[in-house]
């Protein structure tokens, strides 16, 4: 595989893995929880490196999942006390965990094969130089992991499709038929934690959030149907990957950052020109409704006036 292809596949697969989860996060109003979880996996990575002294994916995924769960449960517990509101709970927990991770990296930099730069920028440019030994074959590491993440998320969404759909649309009904929306949210956020840690190597801890939220929020402006929303989200993800790669090499800037910027550009387009929920469409509709209302009001008055 050429190195360009490896980078493109890595970017596209990362965006796809995020895009499978993003629509649910946006629909369930969990966008900011996913932001928190994506930050919170950092100490998990550090701890896994320190304990197992390896870059093998499994321990790191496990470490990230554990800290993702700590983050979600911590926020829930803090809210549950009633002493702080939901937003403050989020803003208290994830910075503390992220700070823990950053301090871990700064203190044990050599031990964890990680530096703060890769936390922020990701290492997608180095993707062609990393390989993973799969059943004796040397395959590009990030592509293999990307495929694994996509497969895992696809399985997750397919297996829990009805439950995810029900709990996203009508949590109270879901509760009545014994599907706990809170448990679904937690499962979803664990999937986010695992996706975040796999994507972490390529796009860094924070730009994962861009890929989780922005394409899905754009798709939400374009369609009312869940399957269509997921398809559009994934499509925007690939567009961001392709656009990000080409613009980044043109401007000599971060690939991951440029993917985020392209995704943001797609969002702006959807916001302005979306067929139904776009600002332009809304303005036109509102003007028409206003005109109709004035006509109707006028007619009502004439009819009601004493003759």
């Amino acid at each position: 595989m050429s190195s360009d292809l490896i980078i493109l596949l890595t970017a596209g697969l990362t965006a796809t893995a995020c895009g499978l989860l993003g629509p649910f996060l946006v629909l369930r109003r969990n966008a900011l929880m996913s932001d928190a979880v994506a930050h919170a996996v950092l100490p998990g990575i550090v701890v896994a490196y320190l304990i197992f002294q390896t870059r093998a994916p499994l321990p790191i995924v496990a470490g990230a999942a554990v800290f993702g769960i700590i983050c979600v449960l911590g926020i829930d517990a803090l809210r549950g006390t009633g002493l702080v509101k939901w937003d403050a709970a989020i803003a208290l927990v994830f910075p503390a965990l992220f700070a823990l991770g950053v301090i871990g990296i700064s203190t044990y930099a050599s031990g964890v094969h990680l530096d703060l730069d890769s936390t922020i920028y990701g290492e997608i440019a180095f993707a062609p130089f990393l390989s993973l030994d799969v059943l004796g074959a040397e395959l590009p590491r990030t592509v293999v992991l990307g495929f694994a993440a996509v497969a895992a998320n696809l399985a997750f969404v397919a297996l829990l499709w009805r439950k995810l759909k029900t709990t996203s649309f009508d949590p109270q009904y879901a509760q009545a038929v014994d599907v706990s929306p809170a448990r679904m949210s937690r499962l979803l956020l664990v999937a986010v934690a695992i996706t975040a840690v796999i994507s972490f190597e390529s796009v860094g801890a924070i730009l994962v959030v861009t890929l989780l939220i922005v394409p899905a929020a754009a798709a939400h402006l374009l369609t009312d149907r869940l399957t269509a929303m997921i398809a559009i989200t994934v499509a925007i993800g690939w567009a961001s990957a392709i656009g990000g790669l080409s613009f980044a090499s043109a401007a000599d800037a971060s690939i991951a950052g440029m993917m985020g910027v392209v995704a943001a550009g797609c969002f702006v387009l959807a916001l302005l020109a979306g067929p139904r929920y776009g600002l332009a469409a809304r303005a036109i509709r509102r003007r028409r409704a206003g005109r109709r209302a004035r006509v109707a009001l006028g007619a009502a008055r004439e009819a009601g006036a004493p003759s």
Binding site: D35, D87, A88, F267
Partner: protein, 414 residues
């Protein structure tokens, strides 16, 4: 700043850092409270991320690396970010959490692109800008601190001058608007103040973790007082303390400043959440345990009285059988009663001492009074909005009304 720096018991550099951190903690604490009370904390997170591209654009535009020039860029982008978040939320389809998430991550991506672009232009120029990610107290110079202090004082003066309108808007925007307050304008003012706090802090704490500095002091202070003025003052003090402690620790250890400050702050919040009098988790747990214990002890007292009424003094074993209470609970309650001198023993057998009999009487009277309230309470004229507390009806109604209630009940019985 000069005399103040001389007055501190540190070396010049450390004094500058401490002062800077105090200013940032104070302003972030007070101004962050305005966001936390509106449940807009995470908008602060988005705005902090939005300052990153601002800093980069200012650098590209002017080539200057001094903090003050870059802060102008940070402030401008913070304000733009604020407008966009509000605009996006009002645009209808995008929910508030997604709106915040989209702004936050889009601006951050833009910031990363610009940072790396600057890095590719000029190797040496980038090093300074990177400290805006995780924060760095070490680079602060006296001029920066002077500017931070001037900005912070200005912002605090605005809060003091607009205290009443801000309080009214924060608590009940509808009512404030009906009283003629321009609440939209006040919300804009509060958001602008938030941007000021972020701009003051972002270099030292970093864009990623700045939100913690906004929320920590408010969350801690709210546990300690129930008045807005008190929360604002305490939040300022807590913010300053956390900022100074964290900055000094970081300067000493060489660790990035933002994370150290955030961890110090988190510990402070945790302590307040656990221990705050009247509110803290442990405080409430202890109170709950005490109430339960009292209920148990009173119940056992009545059980004992019932047993004594029906026969000879019971042994502990017989009392357990008769009351159906778990043995451990019974043993604990009897222990408590023993200690207060309510019990007397005759070998294995337990009966009530004189003071024990008096307690039983008091408990029974309380129960009677409560049933009297349920039955005849509606006939009782109360002089104010006092309400019955089932734990102690007499104290909550007042002696006069408790007696009147008993009279009503007696009248009805007769």
């Amino acid at each position: 700043m000069g005399p103040l720096i001389d007055a501190l018991p540190f070396s010049y550099t450390v004094s500058v850092i401490a002062l800077g951190a105090a200013v940032l903690g104070l302003t972030a604490g007070v101004l962050g409270t305005l966001a936390v009370l509106r449940q807009r904390t995470l908008v602060g997170d988005a705005l902090a991320h939005a300052t990153l591209p601002g800093v980069c654009v200012a650098f590209i535009a002017t080539g200057a690396k001094d903090a003050s020039t870059l802060l102008v860029g940070a402030g401008a982008f913070g304000l733009i970010g604020a407008l966009l978040v509000v605009g996006l939320e009002r645009s209808g389809r995008t929910r508030p959490d997604a709106a915040i998430g989209v702004m936050l991550s889009s601006f951050f991506a833009l910031g990363i692109v610009l940072l790396t672009y600057i890095g590719s232009l000029n190797q040496s120029g980038q090093a300074g800008l990177e400290s805006y990610l995780f924060g760095q107290a070490a680079g602060l110079v006296e001029r920066d601190v002077t500017i931070m202090a001037a900005l912070g004082l200005g912002a605090l003066a605005v809060v003091a001058a607009l205290f009443r309108p801000l309080k009214s808007t924060l608590f009940d925007a509808d009512h404030a608007a009906a009283g003629g307050l321009p609440i939209r304008a006040l919300e804009v003012v509060m958001t602008a103040l938030l941007v000021v706090a972020i701009v003051i802090g972002v270099r030292t704490v970093g864009a990623i973790l700045m939100v913690a500095m906004l929320v920590v002091p408010a969350a801690a202070a709210r546990q300690l007082t129930g008045r807005l003025a008190g929360v604002l003052v305490l939040a300022g003090l807590i913010g300053a303390t956390v900022g100074v402690t964290g900055a000094l620790l970081s300067a000493q250890s060489g660790l990035p400043t933002g994370p150290v400050i955030v961890l110090v702050g988190f510990l402070v919040v945790l302590a307040c959440l656990l221990l705050a009098p009247g509110r803290g988790i442990l405080w409430r747990a202890r109170k709950l345990a005490r109430d339960r214990r009292r209920l148990l002890v009173e119940g056992v007292l009545i059980d004992l009285e019932t047993a004594l009424h029906g026969g000879p003094p019971p042994t502990q074993h017989e009392l357990a059988l008769a009351s159906g209470r778990p043995r451990r609970a019974l043993r604990r309650a009897l222990g408590d009663l023993e200690r207060t001198g309510a019990l007397a023993r005759d070998g294995e057998r337990i009966y009530l001492s004189e003071s024990g009999a008096a307690s039983v009487h008091a408990v029974l009277e309380r129960r009677d009074l409560w049933s009297a309230w349920l039955e005849h309470g509606w006939r009782l004229e109360l002089p104010d909005a006092r309400e019955p507390d089932p734990r102690d009806l007499r104290a909550s109604l007042g002696d006069e009304h408790a007696d009147r209630l008993r009279a009503l009940a007696a009248e009805a019985r007769a």
